[in-house]
């Protein structure tokens, strides 16, 4: 084998298109599960604040399960386990629509929702209760006080943790390879098998992951900076 040569991968249109498809699938899985996770996290947060002990107990159990079972095992349970228990019609439909990717989105999204909802909860807890009282005293209803006073501050407090967990969600999308999703990690294995350029293919994909992660971190930091009324000069 000759020395280091990236052009053999980047100059080959077949490998480049595999790489691009991998990037596309990684982003489909990551963005899909992020949206699912954030939606669920807000629902879980609502359940936490719902009156009565049932909602709180449910969310505690949900968070406890998803935090204490490895993500890979959760993906396997979904794809190898729960998938087989589903009715035939649904199984056929899922198989026609890239079942691996759908279960990767479900598995990662459900798991990350637990982390997001805890981030949001601790962000909300850091808002002093006086804020709610003041908003109510000014004539806001409960929902309107939540919407205009509590949530903006709570979400702002939670931003650093949310950004961290968004990066780890992006990184965890690589686990989808274990249930056969053709994402970036899958692409690098394919390219490596075909080109025998082990070092170069792994280097390329590692750099891609690193760049995307750093971009998410930087984007998050920018949003956090924008959201801070003091530093962005709005207060």
């Amino acid at each position: 084998m000759s020395s280091f040569d990236l052009s053999e991968i980047l100059g080959n249109p077949e490998y480049v298109s595999m790489l691009l498809l991998g990037i596309e699938m990684t982003f489909i899985v990551a963005v899909g599960s992020w949206v699912l996770a954030m939606t669920l996290a807000l629902l879980l947060l609502g359940l936490r604040y719902a009156p009565g002990p049932v909602g709180n107990a449910f969310v505690t159990a949900y968070v406890s399960y998803h935090r204490n079972v490895p993500t890979l095992v959760q993906l396997m349970l979904w794809y190898f386990g729960i998938f087989t228990l589903m009715p035939d019609g649904l199984t056929f439909w899922l198989n026609d629509h890239n079942a691996e990717a759908i279960f990767a989105v479900i598995g990662l999204g459900l798991c990350q929702a637990a982390y997001f909802s805890e981030d949001l909860r601790s962000g909300m807890r850091a808002v002093s209760p006086g804020q709610m009282e003041a908003a109510r005293a000014l004539g806001h209803g409960y929902v309107s006080a939540m919407r205009y006073v509590m949530l903006p501050q709570g979400v702002r407090n939670a931003l650093p943790a949310l950004i961290n967990h968004s990066v780890s969600l992006f990184k965890n999308s690589s686990l989808a390879v274990a249930i056969g999703v053709a994402e970036l990690t899958y692409a690098v294995k394919e390219i490596e098998n075909l080109s025998f350029r082990t070092f170069e293919s792994y280097l390329l994909v590692t750099v891609l992951y690193l760049v995307f992660s750093l971009m998410i971190m930087a984007g998050g930091a920018y949003i956090a900076w924008k959201a801070d009324p003091v530093r962005s000069g709005r207060a």
Binding site: P70, G81, A178, S213
Partner: protein
């Protein structure tokens, strides 16, 4: 369904516990726990070295470690494992068992994450401690060793336990390079049974849950204890009380 689960546990408990041990490498839950304990044991000194390097003013110590921490945080663990899978044999020139590859990768990965925890603990202490220790004649390293680290590490014990839980969960990724751990044992059982994948992976999830949940509870309890101690509501052992305890605990 429950009877299926009980039947699987009855038939395969040994495989789940120690893998194929007498006839092969030690595996199953034993391998998972060994891997986690060894990884955290090696990652701990590494993390202290990393944290000190990142706090040092020398760019030769600071920059490479900062770059390494950012790199580790930005790349999926799975990628690092696959790197180790072909780099460790290349460096050592030998056929390296996947267990060792996984161990090395976990030490680097968790070492980087743990170093942030340790650094946080040191920064949270405040400058006064270091200044006081230096004023009393300690060298920088002496002050670290005898004044700063004992306090900082004590304060971050709950976070260290959380990293330990994360390590246990991360060992599952060894599945990709065939580390014979608990996940591997479960997928072996699944391959033999073929008809009960849900039951097999349910057992797997349940076992991980029990282990990780118990450890996170330890973290919660220690956190409470440390908070109480810092608030001064937990009785601290004094020289007098220790002496009294020693006197009253005499075997009769």
């Amino acid at each position: 369904m429950i009877s299926d689960i009980i039947a699987i546990i009855r038939d395969y408990w040994l495989l789940l516990l120690i893998g194929q041990y007498p006839n092969g490498p030690i595996g199953g839950l034993a391998a998972t726990l060994m891997l986690s304990v060894l990884a955290i044991a090696f990652a701990f000194p590494v993390s202290i070295a990393f944290a000190l390097a990142r706090l040092s003013k020398s760019p030769f110590l600071n920059w490479p470690v900062t770059a390494l921490v950012y790199f580790t945080r930005g790349v999926p663990l799975l990628m690092l494992i696959l790197w180790g899978y072909f780099l460790v044999p290349l460096v050592t020139g030998a056929n390296v068992p996947s267990f060792l590859t996984m161990l090395v990768t976990l030490v680097v990965y968790q070492g980087a994450f743990l170093s942030e925890v340790v650094r946080g603990g040191i920064v949270a202490l405040g400058h006064g401690q270091m200044e006081a220790a230096r004023a009393l004649g300690h060298s920088y390293l002496g002050a670290m060793r005898f004044v700063i680290l004992p306090q900082a590490l004590y304060n971050v014990i709950p976070s260290i336990i959380s990293v330990f839980v994360a390590t246990i969960k991360d060992t599952t990724l060894g599945y990709v390079i065939n580390v014979p751990d608990l996940t591997f044992a479960a997928s072996q059982i699944n391959n033999q049974l073929l008809t009960q994948p849900f039951q097999v992976f349910f057992i797997l999830a349940a076992v991980y849950y029990v282990i990780c949940w118990s450890l996170s509870q330890v973290a919660v309890l220690t956190e409470r204890r440390i908070t109480r101690k810092r608030a001064g509501t937990a009785p601290l052992p004094t020289a007098k009380s220790l002496k009294l305890a020693a006197l009253t605990d005499q075997p009769s």
